[in-house]
């Protein structure tokens, strides 16, 4: 009877377990303005602000009873937040941490502190450095002039301090070219002395700046309730994550800017289901597990 009363069933995803807590630590502020940035970050985008150290610490304490497995730091560019290093040092007492950075603003004194913090912790500190291909010709038109070289210098610096950065690229080429491009990137990194290169390819999300660069999602790019039947929902980030922003807790790191994505002020309030009706949800559905490190899955 109820199914008759509800013909327009929504594709609902419950929060299964809060495995990853994200911190939108630099808001939408970035020193770069990549043409494919799915939340249109730039030096002037203040729609989300920085998180304070106190806010991060409060959420870390809140995360304990939720059994959060690991913590992610993103922006914008996280290292623009002057308290990031202190936040990471604190976080490593609670669990593993991953920073998503563009690699262009790293300072040796920060990495020295972070290396010491990681060595004193049970947990790994991972860096994901965004570089969109193994050459300036592929990367710079998207991320800006000289950004390939600057980001690669960031990788060099991380390697110098004993980190093993994960080079993360957005697929701005055909999927069929993955193999060749990854191979070339491994060679380039090896030549620079990084023989243990770890690489990750992400699909493009047709949101924010990227929606203007190419085209946004069409109304047919939608997940339906029917498509979720028998589907492993743990493939979707929103099934096991939430994001702390300065405007409240968001459903996932991809949609923070979309209507309805802010679910409440506390983790408790954000423990509710979400209808995955956005165009980007179709990308998650298709590719799965797009936000995690290779060691997870």
């Amino acid at each position: 009877m109820n199914s008759v009363a509800n013909p327009e069933q929504l594709p609902i995803v419950e929060l299964g377990s809060l495995d990853e807590l994200w911190f939108q630590v630099a808001g939408t502020r970035c020193n770069l303005s990549c043409t494919h940035c799915f939340i249109s970050c730039s030096p002037h985008n203040d729609s989300f602000g920085f998180l304070s150290f106190e806010e991060v610490e409060r959420r870390l304490l809140e995360a304990v009873e939720w059994g959060v497995k690991e913590f992610y730091f993103t922006g914008g560019e996280p290292f623009l937040n002057p308290q990031l290093v202190a936040m990471l040092e604190r976080t490593l007492a609670f669990g593993p941490a991953t920073v998503l950075t563009n690699g262009t603003v790293l300072k040796p004194e920060w990495l020295e502190r972070l290396r010491a913090a990681e060595q004193g912790s049970l947990y790994s500190l991972e860096f994901r450095v965004s570089i969109d291909g193994p050459t300036p010709e592929l990367n710079d038109p998207i991320r800006g002039p000289r950004t390939f070289e600057r980001a690669m210098q960031g990788v060099d610096l991380l390697v110098q301090f004993g980190f093993l950065p994960i080079v993360t690229m957005t697929r701005v080429w055909d999927e069929g070219q993955d193999h060749e491009i990854l191979g070339r990137f491994r060679d380039v990194l090896r030549q620079r002395g990084y023989g243990r290169a770890r690489l990750k390819v992400l699909p493009r999300l047709l949101l924010g700046a990227e929606a203007n660069r190419t085209c946004g999602y069409s109304s047919s790019d939608r997940v339906t309730a029917e498509m979720l039947i028998g589907y492993d929902k743990s493939q979707l980030v929103c099934q096991h994550s939430r994001v702390v922003t300065d405007r409240g807790i968001a459903v996932c790191p991809i949609l923070i800017d979309s209507p309805g994505a802010i679910l409440g002020d506390t983790l408790q309030a954000a423990n509710r289901s979400f209808a995955v009706t956005h165009g980007a949800c179709a990308t998650c559905y298709q590719f799965g597990a797009i936000c995690t490190n290779p060691s997870h899955k």
Binding site: S17, D19, A63, V64, E65, W66, G67, V68, K69, E70, F94, G95, P96, E118, L122, Y123, S124, L125, E126, G162, F163, L164, H179, L182, G195, R196, R198, K200, S234, N293, P294, S295, H296, K297
Partner: protein, 274 residues
């Protein structure tokens, strides 16, 4: 009670035979294997026979699930084509060298087992209680996550394998890292060495009740990780005879992993050579 736990065997029947003998010589009351019988090594049938003839209870690993059901791959989900190439070679070898009887048996293995000894409630699984192929590494698994997993499953100790590296964490009822009360144990694997330049493999002994060593305050349970020497040179010969990849043989002979390194978090990865 004295209990022995073997992790992934990966067809290393020589290490398995040595481990069974070693555990018996220590007077264990029962033995378990936490899954992944095949892959990597030679003659998968020999591992199955040893397990089935020696009263070793088994939890199903992702490999056993795949082989049992004749799936296309091992469900490890690597993304590096080189890793996938080698994973596929050993998977295809294992699939074609297992007899139907063993494969039927693999299909019937439980995804987890619960047992209780001397009031300690154990949950035995392969990756994690919620997912057979979940990687729980020491450096990427927070204590509050483990504590919650124990609470959700109403148990005191969870034992798993799957990653290939042994480790343990213990905490108290409030989730603080402390002396034993609750715990998670990765029992290691018998299949290959631990990427540390030594050729031994590892298994795990768990003691409960009166078998726990005398301490100031008697603990409800205690763990001992056992380094196990076996005839690794003979294993390498058998692998060569079966034309298994030289990369795998090097791991057996040197103690360094040469493939599938991508899944290691940075702390674990740094300890290796590659």
């Amino acid at each position: 009670m004295r209990l022995a736990f073997f992790g992934g065997i990966y067809s290393n029947h020589l290490a398995l035979a040595a481990a069974i003998a070693d555990a018996r010589s220590r007077g264990v009351d029962a033995m378990w294997c936490l899954g992944d019988l095949g892959g990597f090594g030679p003659h998968p049938d020999r591992t199955c026979e040893l397990i089935r003839n020696n009263n070793v209870s088994v939890v199903q690993g992702n490999y056993d699930h795949s082989i049992g059901h004749g799936l296309n791959d091992c469900q490890c989900g690597y993304t590096d084509p080189r890793d996938n190439h080698f994973a596929q070679l050993s998977y295809d070898y294992t699939l074609t060298h297992n007899c139907d009887d063993h494969r039927t048996w693999m299909r019937t293995l439980p995804a987890q087992q619960r047992v209780e000894f001397d009031g300690v409630r154990l949950l035995l699984c392969h990756g994690s209680p919620r997912r057979t192929n979940e990687f729980l590494w020491d450096s990427t698994t927070s204590t509050q996550f483990l504590a919650k997993m124990c609470d959700n499953n109403a148990c005191d100790v969870i034992l798993g394998t799957h990653t290939g590296l042994h480790w343990q964490r213990t905490w108290d009822e409030r989730g603080a890292v402390s002396t034993k009360s609750r715990g998670f144990i990765n029992v290691g694997v018998l299949g290959r060495p631990e990427n540390d330049g030594t050729i031994n493999v590892w298994y795990t002994l768990l003691r409960t009740g009166g078998d726990v060593g005398a301490g100031e305050a008697p603990l409800p349970w205690e763990v001992e990780f056992v380094p196990l020497i076996y005839d690794h040179e003979r294993l390498a010969c058998e692998m060569r005879d079966e034309r298994l990849p030289d990369e795998f043989i090097q791991t057996i002979l040197t103690g360094w992993w040469t493939t599938c390194l991508e899944v290691l978090p940075s702390k674990e990865r740094r300890r290796g050579q590659w």
